[in-house]
């Protein structure tokens, strides 16, 4: 792996800005900025200790609510029969599931879904663990609490809300900032400057990776795409005129907030393409990637991005990939046969790819889902429920075990679900998403003092509970970045009005720290007026803060 970044292709726009600033020659600025960027990257590398401290989280979101009590099944004598009884015609036959003996269940045995041979193997190798009966909780809850409607997550059993709550870890307020995004807010300063965010999605926009400042870079499993007919190095050609035209239009500041957002998004997409595609150039895997498996293709792309991490100056990255179609009200058995096969095959490939790249113990993949499903059958499917089982895979995972509510034996005893069954086999979770996330974040490098920012509800609601012990503790904690100084008003610090970095109304780059946006005095006043007017008329959403509980 090279230690100096390759020459980055930087768009002419970044130097020329508006066409009228022609007094400065583009060439001289290009080399000036190139020198600055290289110096910056090298500086970043030297102060942060180099490659040795890289870590990445990969969130695999199974959208729709995976029927995960058929992904991990109790097989101990007595327990299996109780499982078969409550699941009725949805029960998997005991001799078809793949037997595992977790190291911490005192001899109780479980079975992995028949399609998931790679998962079973990784469990046996100690590279994979299960977390059982995880779900969104406002606080630890009893059945009496549930029946009385005390402290319930908002809109339990509703897809859109539960997806959001899994991704924000804030189940009692409507917010759209995710815990992956907040982790990036804290930690992104460990990374070198890059137009490609440390938060990378293979599945488009998502709440999980959205932070207060941190944004998401989306890419498809085939890689980034170039804008047709656009080239920053073209001169004196149709392409050059088109490029100039696109740049000049996208670089304008638009007063209409929709136009401004579109311009910024397009600008970012075009710029980050160059960095991304250059970084990935020549990075290939020898690990075979199964064909016809879209999840495997996405995970293979993630592996390649990780292989190219030094070209992004990245010491920390968070990835998101979603696989949809799990809402099995119908045909759950047949559907899971193929879909869990897809998941297992992809995870198996990913583990091998990470080993090939040399980062097996630096990358942790974890699953998430809206919810588990009812243990009882609706005929040939199951309906929306609550707690469900998940898996965590990586070299740093304390594998070969099942982590859950320790007091209840880590994995629910199907002979005795009365205390947690709200009806139809909808189980109150024994582990909150907060606790699940906390173990992952602590390993990732979020210090205790910063954990309150990333998981605002954790310490007051779950702080007394012991850590799950999912992952080996880090031996080297990176220099803790300070909590970002964020405004106390519940708005993001971004202000509309001008694009970055070129256009702006009037000079503003002078005194004080340069801000990302330049606004003239009149523009600022106008915006304040507009914002006040809109916030006054805003529909009340329950206790909503833009970024979490106050």
């Amino acid at each position: 792996m090279s230690t100096t970044p390759p020459e980055p292709p930087i768009s002419r726009r970044q130097f020329i800005g508006q066409a009228s600033c022609g007094a400065i020659s583009a060439t001289s600025l290009f080399s000036t900025l190139l020198t600055l960027r290289l110096a910056n990257s090298l500086a970043a590398q030297s102060t942060t200790g180099g490659e040795g401290d890289y870590k990445a989280l990969v969130c695999l979101f199974l959208a729709g609510g995976n029927d995960s009590f058929n992904m991990l099944v109790p097989t101990t004598s007595g327990e299996y029969e109780a499982y078969a009884s409550v699941r009725g015609n949805l029960a998997l036959a005991r001799d078809t599931v793949l037997q595992i003996t977790p190291g911490n269940l005192g001899g109780r045995t479980l079975g992995v879904h028949p399609s998931m041979t790679e998962v079973r193997d990784l469990f046996g190798q100690g590279r994979l663990a299960f977390v059982s009966n995880v779900g969104s909780l406002v606080r630890p809850l009893t059945l009496a609490d549930y029946r009385a409607g005390r402290s319930l997550p908002l809109s339990l059993y509703s897809h859109a809300d539960q997806i959001k709550q899994w991704q924000t870890c804030i189940p009692d307020q409507r917010t759209a900032v995710g815990w992956g995004g907040r982790a990036a807010d804290i930690i992104k300063s460990l990374n070198g400057p890059s137009l490609v965010s440390m938060n990378i999605s293979l599945s488009g926009q998502n709440v999980f990776l959205t932070g207060r400042d941190a944004f998401t870079y989306s890419v498809s499993s085939g890689g980034a795409t170039a804008l047709t007919g656009y080239s920053p190095t073209a001169v004196n050609s149709l392409t050059a005129q088109r490029t100039k035209g696109v740049d000049s239009v996208m670089d304008q500041s638009y007063r209409n907030l929709f136009e401004q957002t579109y311009a910024e998004s397009t600008r970012d997409a075009v710029d980050s393409y160059y960095e991304f595609s250059t970084a990935l150039n020549g990075i290939t895997l020898t690990t075979p990637v199964p064909t016809g498996n879209s999840l495997a293709s996405s995970l293979a792309m993630i592996a390649r991005v990780i292989a190219a991490r030094s070209r992004f100056g990245a010491r920390r990255q968070i990835f998101f990939v979603q696989l949809g179609g799990w809402d099995h009200h119908d045909e759950v058995l047949n559907n899971q046969l193929t879909m869990l096969r897809t998941v297992s095959q992809a995870i198996g490939m990913f583990s091998s790819a990470l080993t090939e790249v040399g980062v097996a113990d630096r990358v942790t993949l974890f699953t998430a889902s809206d919810f588990g499903r009812t243990l009882s059958s609706n005929g040939n499917g199951s309906d929306h429920a609550w707690g469900g089982n998940h898996l965590v895979m990586g070299g740093a995972v304390n594998g070969g075990k099942v982590y859950g509510d320790a007091a209840a034996g880590h994995y629910p005893d199907f002979r005795n679900l009365a205390a947690i069954d709200t009806g139809q086999g909808r189980l109150i979770p024994g582990v909150s998403v907060d606790e699940y996330a906390r173990d992952l974040l602590a390993w990732f490098g979020v210090s205790n003092s910063n954990m309150d920012y990333v998981l605002p509800a954790f310490s007051s609601r779950f702080g007394g509970r012991p850590s799950l012990g999912l992952l080996s503790a880090s031996t080297t904690t990176p220099t803790t970045p300070t909590t970002p100084t964020t405004p106390t008003t519940p708005t993001t610090p971004t202000t509309p009005g001008s694009t970055s970095p070129s256009a702006g109304s009037g000079g503003g780059g002078g005194g004080g720290a340069p801000s990302t946006y330049f606004l003239g005095a009149l523009g600022t006043l106008a915006l304040l007026r507009l914002r006040q007017k809109r916030l006054a008329k805003k529909k009340p959403k329950a206790g909503e803060a833009a970024d979490g509980p106050t």
Partner: protein
Amino acid sequence: MRATFLPRLLLTLWGFVGGLAGQTVVPETNITADEHASRFLAQATFGPTTEAITELRNLGYNYSAWIDREVAKPVTLAAPLVTAARESGQVTTITNAHNRRARNQVMIAGSDQLRQRVAYALSQIFVISDNISAISNANEGSSSYYDMLARNSFGTFRQLLYDVTRHPMMGRFLSHYKNRKANPTAGTRPDENYAREVMQLFSIGLYRLNADGTYQTDGTGRPLDAYTNDQITEFARVFTGFTDESTNNTGTGTGRTDFPSAGQNYTAPMRMWDPQHDTGAKNLLSYAGARKPTLPAGQTGLQDIDDAIDNLVEHPNTGPFICRQLIQRLVTSNPSDGYVARVAATFANNGRGQRGDMVAVIKAILLDQEARNLAFVLDPEHGKLREPFVRVTHLLRAFRFSVSGTLLPYDFGSAVTETTIGQYPMSAPSVFNFYLPDYEPPGPLSAAGLVGPEFQILNSVFGITTPNAVYNLIHTSSGSFTLDLAPQASVSDNAGALVDNIDLLLTHGTLSSGTRAQVITAINSVTTAMVPTGSTLALTKARLAVYLIAVSPDFAVLK
């Protein structure tokens, strides 16, 4: 927004170097009557054409009369196009692609444009998706479902919800097809999927609403749930007993109570097979004015269905919940509370005592001052990101597209699909459509507390692949579609005239002076030496101008 070190340093440099040029651009509002008509057509159809603008001019720009004329037109249907293809022998097996091509034809070229545009909006609320094989492998089923929406676009909301509920494609998508009543012996109970989504998405929504669409809250500001999980279970018992339409009256299984054997019927309304219908008493929604909050035992399945549909339609939430979304699909993402209230009031009573009059609602949406008054063009918070599919159809219609081929020729091929532009009609990733009504994109919009649903499918992938799809359409073709830019080429020797021509069709006269200037500069910079082989200077200039405006924020956002 992107607090990277690099641009900050650059900005400081620029500060010293001599300041930055560039002022904030605003839309033009000095627009002609034709341009205003073009803007109306962008809201009410799949895109303005010069012919349609002329028609409106001849109507004296009377938008209400235009709507009446549209309502009187016969509906153009997609499913018969697919059936005809099979019966002519040109197609042996109907595929999903055939259905898509048939629907493209009626949406893009149907003369009943308002109806088609409303049907498309309804397809994003009453969502089924060919994303799953039960829909994509159902012969004409998906087109039959779309046609059902089109037929109901100018009817009553009650009839619409009833027909949606009984359509076999919705039955398969939300699994109330062959939903059996509870069987205590087998330990099964009815599937709750349709019961949940018919409330959450198709009628009342998650939270109790005021008449203007704002949330009702408790003392602490928390919104109030519109329904409980128990009520879902009750409604699930209503939606039991549906199966394929057939004339076979012999049940199967124990006591012959299970569904009769029948072939799959993907188009006729589902049949109610009463032996599998739960006939017990049921508790539905209770609200002021509810006619039957409780259903008595012993009703037939269809009686239960009728009463349940009424119970949902007549709930005070339904008007504001549905109307706000229709406004978002046609006009603007953040309607004022007043706008929602006015449209919802029309939903509640069309002035003649009728509830759910779709034509009255559509008129209320399109003729409201918030849709028509040009002052809103200048409101920085007004408007919406045009959804990518409609941007494409807009370009097709504005630039006199032609299609090649004869068999279901409205075929985008691989150029325009959900993977290239982020969406495709009736192919949403789930019943939650391509984007949520309350999606707030990070950045200036969320900072202002505004939603922009269509931004949910704008990211660094589609931010490039959608302009690329537009590029291909303009410079070559997309599947069987080709544009005709001859009218634009013919005025391209005068850059201003060329831009005006495109401004009328794409940006309805609102093209900002800033973008106009940039595009004119680009056009005037094209030399003969730059013209690609086989093209002309005129056409090259025309394509460049169309492309730049088509990808500009001025066009991307409908104001």
